[in-house]
Symmetry: C2
Subunit: 545 residues, 2 copies
């Protein structure tokens, strides 16, 4: 028996696009001699469809697509994820289902039992968990179907769940396991995924075929890396990251487990490639091509400019240099050098005159006050406005360049440098931005070395340095990582050896700046805990603030 | 036996504040001769605590508060909601629990079974559902404790759930039922609540005491309206809306059911009072007093100014009039008249010079292009920047004045008129804004009548009217209501008699503007489906767009 896995880039709610992609992959699978072609979780709708699932019309369209796929399943079985209606009145209206389709018919439906409802996941908002677990028989083989999370509680070792779906099928003696996933990327996820599959085959002793999505959906990046796992624990094949892929495997070969093909997975390379795909898909799926951003001469905007140029091409990236009286010559030079190196269009607009016009407009109201952060914010907002004007005039998307460290502590201006359509580095700590810059420069000096070595500064007042307002980034990032990714509270942090005053100050800054983050653009997620939909904090709260 | 109900205004994560409030109410209850005092759901932490629940430190603080309350329960029992740890490894780490405390001890813990995970609710993200249901005995009575949603599946008639917690307790023959709630306001909710309690007493034939929160938590408004229900279906008492209240009831009187005291609940009056409290608490809980907003002479900003003045007092509300060359004289006059009527400080700042400075800055880049929406956005953003500058300089919060209709179809400028700390009217359709204005003017002309009768206009180009770009609001709002509140799709809308082209245009506008709403300030929720946390839509999606 031959099994084809189709790792595809879906578009949420774009039924026609998704259908055409699947029909094309089905054709490829047929040409490769496959008996079965397997797609990802909720492939018909794209993942995550979120509240579109609450529209009857949306489910109708999805059901029509499943019927069409069943009809296309001539001479080849199709295994595909889609929502299905719960016939029982009690409980949620839908299941998250793996359909087994063949020659116009639905041979089997296996619903998902473990519904992730944490971090970025809201599945219990929509779906009723499965209570029945049955293998499907096809061409003399018993096949266990499973959807994503259902293989993540091997031997009931995951404390989140009380049942283990594949255990429930063992008395039916499955010959192999198919898993339909939509498992979003973070830089540790590829390794976790391989380990979970190894644990599964160690328990069940049959081949596993794990099919993931690839492509980005607003903030969520799907890296692909679909896996064929032999019963001996060898990774028989791991599909490439960040690319579509359709490949057919001979079941007998997978049983033998002689091959071992894992993808390399080093943190910064993964983050780099994820962000490039994240930018490309955000633009592509919105039907737009051109990006604009402000280039300050600093490291953050330099990295975003390079990532954007790699995602969209030099012709589609344009930057503004917007010096004020506080900008240093080297900043302007560094920005210009970078723009020339990566061959993108740049314009220089001096903001001093606009700033003076604001001062004049507010002269009466501000009389007798001293310049402070208000005036710094005005400068940042003038730059945001100029960029948005370019974005509106020329139909481009403004890329936000804020990094995770400054977003965490609120070191940014709402509607100023926090503006944009997509926050490229919002899940990348400042220390990791430096690593990204060095990775970009590994073969040649793309980003001017000066941008890497000079002390970070917002340049909004004379001789300003980030270190005037913030702890050094190497310490700050460690505290933030523990508080944000690991949810470690103040007492435990102090017990770990962090300075008490520093801990209290940083945690307070994180908490009082929820209101700013609530108005941020979507953040491309590359860590296990990103700002946005996966981190839900009260804006008006008083814990640690 | 006497039962005190404490309808209090908690502050999320502010354990000390919440504790002091409860201790004070406990004292009042004692003075009123109560045997038991009942607080709301998760009263110890405030509701909703969201991801603070993932911090061990946060749960430790909550547990310490419960111990303190148990110690204070001398001569009076305390029934209070707080998270409790799940001792079983499998499943979620916490329960959402009603604690029965007396003389230093926890006499009983009843966990919540029905965990709302829809709309604004994410309870299954944090909590394991209860599987055990036991009454607690106190002074010879058997008391059924229940938490919020657990009374919302009377006789298993709610299709969302498969069990009915109070049914499970019936063989233990409870003498009365306590319900600890945190049930957010919408303008239909007060009536729904009374009906659900009636259905419960009709089934169980014992008195019910339903204790709700009051006060606002960012976007969620809790209206109070706690209810004592007699077994005969009479509302024995309904506590006031939008006020704290501690009252003690004699169980024997409630049994008799001779009293009937319901609060009036007319839609626009409720919305008015909810928004006033929403503004007041947002400021109060952030520790700020002063608001700023732009007054255009139109109806939306006029209504927000009045609500803000009622919430914060005239001395704390300041407005900017920011005319451009496209502003009509009557707009400026109407704005000035209103400011004078409600006695708030107003300043006039002409934006034309700032606009010219932007034109000059972008002269090279914009050469050869014609003025279009970009230039309109620049005007809106200059106003946003001036308001934010005032907000930053004087420590006030910018109130956003966008209404639900324009937010729905994206008729607003990101970082311009969509800016602010709180969107006061973001859940109020334009036609309802008019109703609010008429309600405000019911006794005297507070808002100039001219603002109510002139055709709505953004005044961003000569002779502009909203009706140039949008369908008439009375039709638009009907389509929006069906699509947003009722999740009715295009085919069904057309079948209902709406024009097909209109339906397609409106639904497309709603869907393609998710990116704008994703960066909006929090919206005070007054309907059953508000923009924000309760409505989760893909930004990059293609359904109906």
């Amino acid at each position: 028996m031959k099994i084809a896995m189709a790792q595809l880039n879906y578009h949420i709610g774009h039924f026609e696009h998704n259908m055409n992609k699947m029909l094309e992959a089905l054709q490829t699978a047929k040409e490769q001699g496959a008996d079965i072609v397997v797609f990802g979780e909720l492939a018909v709708t794209g993942y995550p469809p979120r509240d579109f699932l609450e529209f009857n019309d949306f489910i109708n369209q999805s059901e029509a697509a499943v019927v069409k796929l069943a009809e296309a399943a001539e001479g080849i079985a199709v295994v595909v994820g889609a929502p299905s209606r719960n016939p029982v009145v009690e409980g949620k209206d839908l299941f998250n289902t793996a359909f087994f389709l063949y020659e116009g018919k639905v041979l089997h439906k296996q619903h998902k039992a473990l519904l992730p409802t944490y971090d970025v996941f809201d599945e219990y908002r929509y779906f009723e968990p499965a209570t029945e677990f049955k293998v499907v028989e096809f061409k003399g083989r018993r096949i266990a179907l499973s959807v994503c999370e259902d293989i993540w509680n091997v031997g009931n070792e995951n404390p989140l769940y009380t049942i283990c779906p594949l255990d429930e099928m063992q008395d039916q003696k499955p010959d192999f396991i198919l898993n339909l996933s939509a498992s979003p990327f973070n830089f540790e996820h590829a390794d976790n995924r391989v380990n979970v599959l190894k644990a599964n085959v160690a328990r069940y002793h049959v081949p596993m075929f794990y099919v993931n999505h690839v492509g980005s959906q607003t903030e969520l990046i799907f890296d692909g890396g679909s896996i064929v796992m032999s019963p001996n624990g060898n990774v028989f094949d791991e599909m490439p990251f960040f690319e579509e892929c359709v490949r057919t495997y001979n079941l007998a070969d997978v049983w033998q487990g002689k091959e071992h093909r894992e993808q390399p997975s080093t943190k910064i390379a993964l983050i780099h490639d994820a962000l490039v795909m994240g930018i490309r898909d955000y633009f592509g799926k919105l039907g737009l091509k051109r990006a604009i951003l402000g280039l300050s001469g600093g490291i953050d905007s330099a990295v975003v400019a390079v990532l954007a140029q790699r995602a969209l091409g030099s012709a589609n990236v344009r930057v503004l240099l917007m010096p004020s009286q506080f900008s240093s010559d080297h900043s302007i030079n560094d920005a210009r050098t970078l723009a020339q190196t990566i061959n993108i269009q740049y314009d220089t607009i001096y903001i001093e005159d606009v700033f003076k016009s604001f001062e004049a407009a507010l002269k009466t109201q501000f009389a007798g006050t001293k310049p402070e952060i208000t005036e710094e914010n005005i400068q940042a907002r003038i730059r945001g406005m100029l960029l948005m004007a370019m974005s509106n005039k020329f139909g481009s998307i403004l890329l936000n360049t804020s990094n995770k460290s400054e977003v965490a502590v609120g070191y940014g201006t709402l509607y100023g440098d926090m503006a944009g359509g997509l926050a490229v580095l919002g899940d990348v700590y400042k220390t990791e931005v430096y690593e990204l810059a060095r990775y970009i420069n590994k073969d040649a000096e793309v980003i001017p070395n000066n941008s890497l070595v000079k002390p970070p500064s917002a340049e909004l007042r004379p001789d300003q340095k980030d270190s005037d307002s913030l702890p050094p980034y190497d310490i700050l990032d460690k505290v933030l990582y523990q508080y944000i990714e690991k949810r470690i509270g103040p007492k435990e942090l102090i017990a770990m050896g962090f300075d008490e005053a520093l801990v209290r100050r940083v945690l307070r800054l994180v908490n009082i700046n929820e209101f700013k983050r609530a108005q941020m653009p979507p953040v491309l997620r590359v860590s296990s805990k990103s700002f946005g939909i996966g981190r839900r904090m009260p804006i008006v709260g008083r814990y640690l603030s």
